[in-house]
């Protein structure tokens, strides 16, 4: 069944923050002016076809040319005025939007990878830096500056409900700011072609009231939960002794590699595979066993675990709330 | 012949007395050569623009340890190239009057000096103290050298062929047009190097590490 109406949580037409709202206002102005220009110009064109069909003789006298020149000059004048209005509106909005870069307390870093987003929040101490992936949490009503860079190729962070996009360029740091005014869950997607799985590089954006956000941040600052049940303990051993630990980190354990996403609180995340599948036990098992089956070309290799081992590993990962 | 639309009785403009070649901008090939120069000049300009674009974001320029070839060898090439201008201008002038002997002498000297410039260029390349894969600066300088050396060698081929033609014969009047066009192109090769050389070595000699990021 094909849904006929698009969802509203990844849409520039459904702003949830003031920057996106200002852009939508500008877009509306442009659309109205453009529609008027279109109707007028195309209308004149259609009339010219009708008249040109009725004319008995082509008329190219100097007198006609002089009269026409006035019309064309007038139309050109109107066009130029309309263009300057649009230019003015654009510059005004551009200036309003430039305030988003004024200093603020709240900073987040986003690093682009093929094909996932590494998100980190500063902490008061080094061991309190929050490292997570594919999920960006924002406190509602607060301006947040996001620092962007890339570990490999150029990506582009685009949260249409909140603001326009900004490229993540290797070797450079750029910034963009967001302010979510409506709590909710939004979705972002990489907008600069970045290779095989460009299409499946999503990011979940959670805008929540400040208390909830602070609670989430505090929870994420904690080291990982220690395994309790037998399965969880077995799962942790499998994680540490197979190839998992070569790429992933889990704070509070010996796994500290930064090639793949940090998994300290993977159980608390909403999605897997960069906003592609929901974080359920089945999906997690499928992803761990053969990530390339879900996202062909993904850099995470398939695993050859027995069903029991896979089960234990998934139970352990799910426990990392 | 019914499909020829023009009416049968008409006035006529007789052009049978017109010459079969012309010098300067009357000649289509003159435009061809200048447009070629425009294309390649644009290419050189873009290389230079890339040079300054990359320079603007570096904190050291040239990078430390990037040893330039000694200035005297780069001077040698520049002087050899500039020395071609009098004889090639002599050929350029004399071609107008169809003075074959004079044109032969002018072009022969130009070709010999062009050959000298190719030799000094070879030494120059051998004395660059870094490689194209050492750093972006190396890539740029080698890129500029590469493109210009290609011109220098094609210029040599062209000069040899034209000169040989003038010595072997038979020489048509129209070849004097070709001599002049060949000379114009050769001057482009000379002038473009003087500019590129001044930029690359002027920068590394006088402006080392100034105006950097």
């Amino acid at each position: 069944m094909i849904p006929l109406l698009a969802a509203t949580y990844q849409s520039a037409l459904h702003p949830a923050g003031k920057y996106a709202a200002e852009i939508k206002w500008l877009l509306t102005v442009f659309t109205i002016v453009a529609s008027v220009v279109f109707v007028l110009t195309f209308g004149f064109f259609v009339v010219s076809l009708i008249r040109g069909r009725r004319n008995r003789m082509p008329d190219a006298t100097d007198e006609t040319a002089r009269r026409s020149a006035k019309w064309v000059g007038g139309a050109l004048g109107v066009t130029i005025v309309a263009l300057f209005i649009l230019l003015f509106a654009s510059v005004v909005t551009g200036r309003a939007l430039s305030h988003i870069y004024e200093p603020t307390e709240r900073h987040v870093s986003v690093i682009g990878h093929q094909w996932w987003w590494e998100v980190s929040y500063d902490g008061p101490q080094a061991d309190q830096i929050v490292l997570t992936a594919n999920e960006l949490h924002l406190p509602v009503g607060e301006r947040v500056i996001v620092h962007l860079t890339s570990r490999d190729v150029i990506h582009s962070l685009w949260i249409p409900n909140l603001n326009g996009k900004r490229d993540l360029i290797p070797g450079k740091e750029s910034t963009i700011a967001f302010q979510a005014d409506k709590p909710g869950i939004y979705r972002a997607q990489c907008a600069e072609f970045c290779g095989m799985q460009h299409a499946m590089m999503g990011l979940v954006v959670v805008a929540e009231p400040k208390e909830k956000f602070d609670g989430w941040l505090a929870a994420q600052r904690m080291p990982s939960r220690s395994p309790v049940s037998i399965d969880e303990q077995k799962g942790q051993q499998i994680f540490m002794n197979t190839s998992c630990a070569m790429c992933h980190s889990i704070k509070g354990t010996s796994a500290g590699a930064r090639t793949g996403p940090d998994l300290t609180h993977i159980g608390s995340r909403r999605t897997l595979a960069a906003g592609v599948i929901s974080n359920t036990r089945g999906n997690l098992a499928g992803w761990v066993a053969d990530a390339g089956g879900i996202k062909p070309g993904v850099l995470m290799p398939p695993n050859s675990l027995t069903p029991d081992e896979l089960n234990a590993l998934v139970v352990y990962l799910e426990s990392l709330k | 012949m019914s499909d020829i639309a023009l009416p049968p009785k008409r006035r006529e403009i007789d052009v049978s007395g017109l010459p079969s070649f012309a010098f300067g901008n009357r000649d289509p090939l003159w435009w061809g050569v200048w447009l070629l120069i425009a294309i390649e000049g644009t290419m050189f300009a873009l290389l230079v623009a890339s040079y300054f674009y990359l320079r603007a974001s570096e904190s050291e320029w040239p990078p430390t340890g990037a040893a330039q070839p000694p200035l005297w060898i780069t001077f040698a090439t520049v002087i050899a190239l500039l020395a071609t201008i009098p004889p090639s201008y002599y050929a350029f002038r004399k071609a107008l009057d169809g003075r074959l002997r004079a044109v032969q002498i002018g072009l022969l000297l130009t070709t010999i000096l062009n050959g000298v410039a190719v030799v000094t260029r070879a030494y120059e390349l051998g004395m660059i103290g870094y490689n194209w894969n050492s750093h972006a600066y190396g890539s740029l300088v080698w890129g500029i050298y590469f493109v210009h050396t290609l011109h220098l060698v094609s210029g040599l081929c062209e000069n040899i062929v034209i000169t040989a033609l003038l010595f072997i014969g038979p020489v048509e009047k129209k070849h004097m047009v070709d001599v002049r066009l060949g000379t114009i192109y050769w001057w482009f090769v000379v002038v473009s190097w003087v500019i590129l050389w001044a930029i690359v070595f002027g920068d590394s000699t006088f402006l080392r590490n100034s105006f950097v990021a």
Partner: protein, 627 residues
């Protein structure tokens, strides 16, 4: 000499060689022009099939018809084909065919350079498709952004194929541009001063100048990329002082003028159609010419609007917003002038007028979304989304392909001597027009609703399925329209009504000779006294006599006023331009695998060039002094 004898001798002198040897050596501008057009349409068909495959994949969410690897090759090849192998060469081909006819001469200024241009282009196209069909087609987009296309993230030879395809097609375009400028400047009929040239010729002239200054940029960029990949230079390598954004500047400094290189010939064709079917001179000739020239200049000052999302200083961004908005003014003038011309014309409703309607509807809309994209804040929302896919197809298909299809319909009798079936002509236009809008209009909305470009699939929860499905249906309707258009052209070859010299009563010189034109174009070179010679020439308008008919001589005239200046012998058919193309092809294709391809190609080309230019008997006027 009687007309019959003259015809016989000119036919002998300008005889078109046949067979394979003839195919490799013939240098008639009509032969090469037509060959460019047909080859370009062949690639257009391939690019169209790629588009249909992509639309099929996107028809529903999560579709598995085509995987990401193939999809990425398809959209890269589609874009590269449509830009480099179709749009530019087809406009060039039409120029090669019609400019000499329109300016009343028998040949281009450099006929053999034309042959070289064609074979370069053909080799580049075949190279790209050989790679695609062998599953190593380029897959980093027609823009090939580094570092994605660099040695680290694109191992293998896919991107090298792309870079060398660029080398081939740019050499071809540059050779064509030089030839076009020299021809227009020097070969015009006596009396055709610059301000009496048909607008179409002006369009080709401005385009050729844009090619001269834009194409070197992409050649520099693609050579740097090839060097980074092949000999480990660091032009784009951040770690060693290179810069990924340098690529984007070089690419778009070419890439945006490229749009106008396609669009300016399109508008010039539109003027030609309107003048022909409204049967009156275009309103504001001087303004039209100035509009083309202004577009050509400003076209070089807007490239950064492709790069707003990289983060630019605000002052710089505002400059490019302003220039991108201002470039609409000359085009607006052209639109108003066309409307005025039609208003006071006597229109005969033939299918090309349908394409004028299509242009107005589609292009005006595309131009207006272009104004939106010039605004930085709006651009930052819709950049790299389906909104831009919609915009660029509205501009390029509306602004160039619709005029092209209309103009080819108009000129079809000149190519073939026959008329097409108007009913089929109108039907194919209707299918294209409806199919186009059904395909691309929903994409504006899809982009605003968050759908990025260059995605091989999308999640069903995002709700883009419905509009994508509609777009796919539209794409098939368009495909049907193209099939019908081509069928009409093919069927009419045999069964169309015989057209005569000037079936539309048009004004320019290409209609003054037989359809198709004889190999020597004009029995007597014509002269003109104003812009619309077939409407206003005197009954006893002079013709040129005395151009030798036993050699391929053409008349060279002066740059400004086109007074007769000298006679110029153009070359006989010769194999050397093909050999130069072959030598450069061997060198360039070898350079995909080893840097030694460069010296190899250099030596081969140098040898072939000497063979090309070494004078062959019979020798003309000899110098008094001889060695």
């Amino acid at each position: 000499m009687t007309d019959e004898l003259l015809h016989a001798e000119l036919s002998r002198t300008w005889h078109k060689p046949t067979g394979l040897w003839g195919w490799l050596t013939d240098n008639h501008h009509t032969t090469i022009g037509l060959r460019f057009i047909i080859t370009a349409f062949f690639f257009f068909a391939l690019g169209g099939v790629e588009a249909l495959l992509m639309r099929t994949q996107l028809a529903k969410p999560g579709n598995t018809f085509i995987g990401p690897d193939l999809y990425n090759q398809l959209f890269t090849t589609h874009g590269s084909t449509m830009m480099f192998l179709f749009a530019v060469p087809v406009m060039e081909g039409i120029g090669l065919y019609f400019v000499p006819l329109m300016i009343g001469t028998r040949q281009m200024a450099f006929p053999r350079l034309n042959v070289f241009a064609y074979f370069s282009y053909l080799t580049g196209g075949l190279l790209l498709y050989w790679a695609l069909f062998s599953n190593f087609g380029p897959d980093t987009g027609w823009f090939a952004y580094v570092p994605l296309s660099g040695p680290e993230y694109a191992p293998g030879k896919r991107v090298d194929v792309w870079a060398q395809m660029i080398t081939f097609t740019e050499m071809s375009a540059l050779a064509g541009a030089v030839n076009m400028i020299a021809t227009i400047f020097k070969n015009r009929a006596p009396g055709m001063s610059l301000n009496r040239m048909p607008i179409f010729v002006w369009g080709q002239l401005v385009t050729a100048f844009m090619i001269i200054f834009a194409m070197p940029s992409v050649m520099v960029a693609s050579s740097m990329l090839a060097a980074d990949r092949l000999v480990a230079t660091h032009y784009f390598n951040v770690a060693e002082g290179g810069d990924a954004i340098l690529w984007q500047h070089l690419f778009w400094f070419f890439g945006h003028p490229e749009v106008y290189i396609i669009f300016i010939p399109g508008t010039a064709m539109l003027t030609t159609i309107i003048v022909t079917y409204a049967k009156r001179p275009v309103f504001g000739y001087t303004g039209m010419v100035l509009a083309l020239i202004a577009t050509g200049f400003v076209g070089f000052g807007v490239w950064v609007h492709h790069m707003f999302a990289t983060g630019l200083p605000q002052i710089g961004a505002s400059f490019f917003t302003a220039s991108s908005i201002l470039i609409t003014i000359p085009t607006a003038f052209q639109i108003f002038a066309w409307i005025t011309t039609l208003w006071h014309g006597k229109i005969s409703f033939k299918p090309p007028v349908g394409y004028v309607f299509g242009f107005m509807f589609i292009f005006i809309m595309g131009g207006l979304t272009g104004v939106m994209l010039a605004s930085v804040p709006i651009d930052l929302q819709v950049h790299d989304t389906f909104f831009v896919v919609a915009h660029l197809h509205y501009v390029l298909i509306g602004g160039a392909i619709f005029p092209l299809l209309g103009a080819l319909y108009m000129w079809y009798p000149k190519f073939t001597g026959r008329l097409q079936n108007d009913a089929l002509g109108w039907t194919s236009f209707a299918l294209l027009f409806i199919g186009f809008n059904v395909t691309f209009f929903p994409m504006h909305l899809l982009g605003l609703l968050g759908m990025p470009r260059r995605v091989y699939t999308y999640l069903d929860t995002l709700g883009w399925g419905g509009m994508n499905f509609v777009a796919t249906i539209g794409a098939y309707v368009m495909g049907l329209g193209v099939l019908l258009y081509v069928s009409n052209a093919l069927l009419s070859l045999a069964s169309g009504r015989v057209a005569g010299n000037n079936p539309w009563g048009a004004a320019t010189l290409e209609w003054a000779t037989a359809s198709p034109p004889p190999p020597y174009n004009f029995l007597y070179l014509p002269t003109v006294r104003d812009r619309y010679p077939l409407w206003t020439n005197a009954p006893d308008q002079p013709v040129v006599v005395g151009v030798p008919s036993d050699k391929r001589e053409i008349l060279v005239t002066k740059l400004m006023d086109a007074e007769p200046d000298h006679l110029y012998e153009t070359p006989q058919p010769s194999i050397s331009p093909f050999l130069v193309s072959l030598g450069s092809a061997i060198g360039i294709i070898t350079a995909i695998f080893t840097p030694w391809g460069v010296p190899l190609g250099f030596v081969l080309v140098a040898l072939a060039m000497v063979a090309w230019f070494w004078p062959k008997p019979p020798h003309k006027e000899l110098l008094e002094e001889q060695p």
